[in-house]
Symmetry: C2
Subunit: 300 residues, 2 copies
């Protein structure tokens, strides 16, 4: 007899997480609220896309919840070398693009996947993309994630931090998307770690989001900026687009499998820009930021 | 004994085409000029990237010439099931993003590729992406391309127009990038069509560009527009980004094979935007434009 949390329980947690995060972000923003768009998936299930725009702090943000099921898409079956199986997937996915170039872009995803053949796992991650890297903020962000990880397994932070460095990497620019964070996938139960442990870890990751990010919002939202810093922000948003459309597996998979395009591409920034061959002056803050966009930095 | 044009001759034509097009675009713009950035490829060869910005008509445009050679990238060898071969590739590639939402975005590429095992071919295409589709302009554009095609082969236009419809297609939006044009690849000599004939066709495609596009610039540049039309333009530019980063084979190949990123991504628009789930009013010009973004429309 198994005492594993059921998929209904996991789904209910994710749904409550969406509520909790939206509330915390609205409070921290202080002006705008989320607008919800509920949708159904033709093959089974659906979701709630919530979008916030034109806030005090948030220029555009999306927090998605979904719980979908049905016949497993061909691409997954191939990857798993299976002929046929039903699947169930649920999760929360968010990206926040702030007004100020001094407030970082943030992304989080927590998800659960199971198949009718009994395979089931958790995945997810959080990563931060400051337009201007501030060492102290980077340290704070990584320390928060490390605390969550350490609570569950002494190896988690090192492993998942490296995974994030490798994952959130824009190969054609030879730069990381931002200062990384943690990334994990296919977290199945092991002899050492139960399914419930895995779920508890994912819950703690999800629950840590609001405090961690609203701290960075509050700390940085008041810093004055001018057109040249805003211009830099639009360029960095362009890099964010490049990562999401060229490399991000979730985006690619969603688009490949006829996912709901508007929900998948909620991660796209508002106004962004591409200029040709921008090379910041080596004395500038922009240049310093580029030097931080490397793998393997020990922020803590 | 073969009388085929040499690769030097082909390269010289493409280089002169870049000059010719830049001159014509500068004249039609009337304000800004191209700035050249010559670059070398570590593995052999190089190119000239030319960028024009902040013109009267052109907000951002790039016209690239390159002639590169060396060891064939692994990805091409795999696709052609070859173990090892040297390659030579030369071509011109351009994308123009105008200021006005009433002047269409245009893209053209003409290219030549040969390998040390004797395989050689031409490829290329032109396609037009109006922010607002105007039937008469679409008809004009396709008629110009058809005239070029008809001069060389009665089957070219139908075949290459369909190829463009299929190629310039944004699957996850179920819409074409714009009104299409022509696209062709792997044009090798046949019993019926000589290598020289192929080259002459590609030359005529390249030579037709300036007249065709500057006509559309001149005709539409003076049409007044307001913020709502500009906003629509930024959204359509977002779709252009989606096509280039998700589907365009040239872009993907370039990024995959460590091409020169800044030259490859010269095709990216200046300021663009993503809004969540924009659904134009069925009475609007924006809505009408979306209805035209379908495959298989006979514009002529």
């Amino acid at each position: 007899m198994t005492q594993d949390p059921s998929k209904e329980e996991i789904q209910a947690y994710f749904q409550s997480l969406q509520d909790q995060i939206c509330k915390a972000l609205e409070q921290a923003d202080g002006k705008s609220s989320f607008v919800e768009d509920a949708w159904e998936r033709p093959g089974g299930g659906g979701g709630k896309s919530r979008v916030i725009t034109n806030g005090n702090v948030i220029e555009k943000g999306g927090v998605n919840f979904s719980a979908v099921y049905g016949k497993t898409p061909e691409k997954i079956l191939e990857a798993l070398q299976l002929k046929e199986a039903d699947f169930f997937a649920t999760g929360v996915s968010l990206v926040i693009h702030p007004n100020s170039p001094y407030v970082p872009i943030v992304h989080m995803n927590v998800r659960y996947f199971e198949m009718s053949n009994g395979v089931k796992w958790f995945g997810g991650g959080i990563d931060l993309t400051p337009h201007y890297v501030v060492e102290k903020d980077a340290q704070y962000f990584h320390q928060q994630l490390k605390s969550v990880c350490d609570k569950h397994h002494k190896g988690y932070y090192t492993e998942f931090k490296k995974w994030a460095d490798d994952y959130f990497y824009i190969k054609h620019r030879d730069e990381t998307r931002g200062i990384g964070g943690i990334f994990f996938d296919h977290l199945k139960p092991t002899n050492e770690i139960s399914f419930t442990d895995r779920f508890n870890f994912v819950k703690d990751v999800g629950n840590a989001f609001s405090t961690t990010y609203t701290h960075l919002m509050n700390k940085n939202k008041g810093i004055p900026f001018d057109d040249s810093q805003k211009k830099w922000q639009l360029l960095r948003r362009g890099r964010y687009v490049e990562f999401n459309l060229v490399y991000d597996k979730g985006t690619k998979f969603g688009l490949d499998t006829d996912g709901r395009t508007e929900s998948i591409l909620m991660s796209m920034p508002p106004v962004c820009n591409w200029d040709y061959n921008v090379q910041p002056n080596p004395e500038s803050e922009e240049y310093k930021t580029l030097q931080w966009l490397k793998k393997g930095i020990n922020w803590i």
